[in-house]
Amino acid sequence: MSMLEIQNLHVSVQGREILKGINLSIAAGEIHAVMGPNGSGKSTLSYTLAGRAGYEVTAGRMMYRGEDLSALAPEERAAKGLFLALQYPVEIPGVTTMNFLKAALNAQRRARGEKEFDAINVLRLVRETAGQLKVPEEMLRRALNVGFSGGEKKRLEILQMALFKPLLAVLDETDSGLDIDALKLVADGVNALRAPDRSMLVITHYQRLLNHIVPDRVHVLADGRFVAEGGKELAHELEAKGYAGLVRDAA
């Protein structure tokens, strides 16, 4: 079954066209990687999928499990199983991480017509999941992302992914700013979530993340268009040649 079908997607930000006609098809259970140099439109693709204001779809469409994403608000997309792990997770002072997770979990459940978790159940679920991902309890009591290191922030994103159990997870440069140990921890967390009914779109600048999260397909984005596509070996080729070489070949 098709998880995501992107057809001829054009996206403008403040009147400037960033994505210039993208096609992408992800089946259930697949992991796709999008690689590309800075400014190629990688983050624009992730924000557009999540529905951030200011990212205007001027042509084409994004079908998520047969439904047009453009008609849904960001919170509706989340409730329907779309998750975006941000490159730069945001700080919210005064709101404890635990409280935030509870609010998010229950908002999604409410939207799906499911019964909300009470405080004790949330606590149990979050603690258990945090333990598996080696997220210390003390982090859950601190204000959301405030004073967290880069690695802690990314681990918290993966914790949310594990809690929300999305059907389609978009990981936007989850590897950026991580040392090798933190990278492994995050990759292990992601790999543990691989499932036949769960797809992932891994956006990254470097090939090294893909040594740990092995993709089914690799797409290379340059100047708002996919310029190369292939299997996991494409990432290695890219590492050897560099973007410049590949983009030239494509042109």
């Binding site: 951030r52 204001a53 919170e75 997770p89």
Partner: protein, 483 residues
């Protein structure tokens, strides 16, 4: 675009969001319109007051005639016509009710609707309530249990009759009759309010609470609260306020006086939710209130916590006079102004004694076209050696048309004083909102979550029973503020 239309609809429906806007249909007894000595005499006679009280009121009235309404606050409103308002309104009763069974069922119903059941068995465990409806106190609960501990908690009109010596000794001793235009007006015409006396060494066994309700139209509410904590005692007191939705503006000019004797501590919390007016700025309460506490004895402490979400205009500066040595004053404030609300609020910390300490944490939130001003004074007098103050003023702006202003006054006449002032202004950032919504949290809930986080230090100061209510109120008052 669909989202914009939805926002418009939501904003349009906002008028319906103030859930306390109903009116109780009950027969009222009023004094004639306007203010003159006869009205003052009538109020005093209705209350069966002793002669000294009438003289006190008349003195205040004569003084008020010569005073001018203050104009220094950053609030704008059409001139108030003091001659067209009613200064006394009371539910018509055959006789003063002796117990809850005799209280008009309609009044009890009103408080039920407000979520404040007055039947003692239904009350929140451990909270005694005094309910003031327009100008009179209608019921005070748990009187007997409090009396066991020696605590007096009753309507001030009753205290004037039954505990005249105490009232006479302390009334006007913190906020003098001549203090300011609104306090002086209150001194002339106040009709009811709460009185608390906690005897020496007694820790009041329960939270005390007063709910103020304005019901009658074109009527001002002038309540007077006096709390005395005798040596070594402790009391925690909470007031809540609501009013019906009306197109007119109604005046609320209360006076609260706190006296803490040696080693005593008073914690005074307010959740103010007077009708704020509609989304066009029509109607709403003018809340011109004088609140002041006197740390009269050494080592005493007074702590103000306020959550101000209602009123069209708020003019309010709960203050501490740190008279005794080693006394402590605290002011924790959340002021939320949405739509066309205007808030000018803050505190005065007057350091007179040695080793006095004060702490101010103010969180101002502005949304819509509202203006929110923090105005505060920290004053260290020559004798106040080693005085310390820490002030933190944080403002949060939601949208592009509101304003936040901080006006701190600092005066130090003692070189050993240490005074710190921190101020920040921030906005709810788009990326914070997006982060929340991308995790499934809707816009309105996201705003409430972020604002509650911003206010956390202050919310933590509220008694447990009310903290949850206050958190919800913060969310409700900001509904429709993001579009």
């Amino acid at each position: 675009m669909a989202a914009i239309q939805e926002t418009r609809d939501r904003v349009a429906s906002l008028g319906e969001k103030y859930k306390y806007g109903f009116v109780t249909d009950i027969e009222m007894e009023r004094a004639p319109r306007g203010l003159n000595e006869d009205v003052v005499r009538l109020i005093s006679a209705k209350k069966g007051e002793p002669e000294w009280m009438l003289e006190w009121r008349l003195g205040a009235y004569r003084r008020w005639r010569e005073m001018r309404e203050p104009a220094w606050a950053r609030v704008h409103y059409p001139k108030i016509d003091y001659e067209s308002a009613y200064y006394y309104a009371a539910p018509k009763l055959a006789a003063q009710p002796k117990s809850l069974e005799e209280v008009d069922p309609k009044l009890l119903e009103t408080y039920e609707k407000l979520g404040i059941p007055l039947h003692e068995q239904k009350l929140l465990a451990g909270v005694a309530v005094d309910a003031v409806f327009d100008s009179v106190s209608v019921a005070t609960t748990f009187k007997a249990k409090l009396a066991e501990a020696g605590v007096i908690f009753c309507p001030i009109s009753e205290a004037i009759r039954d505990h005249g010596d105490l009232v006479r000794k302390y009334l006007g001793s913190v906020v003098p009759v001549t203090d300011n235009f609104f306090a002086t007006l209150n001194s002339a015409v106040f009709s009811d309010g709460s009185f608390v006396y906690v005897p020496k060494g007694v820790r009041c066994p329960m939270e005390l609470s007063t709910y103020f309700r304005i019901n009658a139209s074109e009527t001002g509410q002038f309540e007077r609260t006096l709390i005395i904590a005798d040596e070594g005692s402790y009391v925690s007191y909470l007031e809540g306020c609501t009013a019906p939705k009306r197109d007119e503006n109604q005046l609320h000019a209360a006076v609260v006086e706190l006296v803490a004797l040696e080693g005593a501590a008073i914690k005074y919390s307010t959740v103010q939710n007077w009708y704020p007016g509609d989304e066009e700025g029509r109607g709403g309460i003018y809340n011109f209130v004088t609140k002041r506490g006197d740390c009269r004895g050494h080592r005493s402490k007074i702590s103000w916590t306020q959550v101000e979400t209602g009123s069209a205009i708020t003019w309010k500066y709960p203050s501490c006079i740190l008279r005794g040595d080693d006394t402590v004053g605290e002011f924790y404030s959340i002021a939320i102004a949405n739509h066309f609300q205007q808030a000018d609020t803050g505190t005065k910390m007057i350091h007179l004694g040695r080793n006095t300490r004060s702490r101010i944490i103010s969180k101002g939130i502005s949304a819509g076209k509202a203006q929110n001003t923090y105005r505060g004074l920290v004053s260290v007098h020559p004798r106040a050696a080693n005085a310390r103050n820490h002030t933190q003023c944080d403002s949060l702006l939601i949208g592009k048309e509101c304003g936040a202003h901080t006006v701190p006054y600092i005066e130090s006449r003692n070189p050993s004083a240490r005074i710190e002032h921190e101020a920040t202004t921030s906005k709810i950032a788009d990326d914070q909102l997006f982060y929340c919504t991308s995790r499934g949290i809707g816009q309105e809930e996201a705003v409430a979550l972020i604002v509650n986080g911003f206010c956390r230090e202050v919310l933590q100061q509220l008694p447990m029973e009310f903290a949850v209510e206050a958190q919800k109120l913060v969310g409700i008052s900001l509904e429709g503020s993001v579009g």
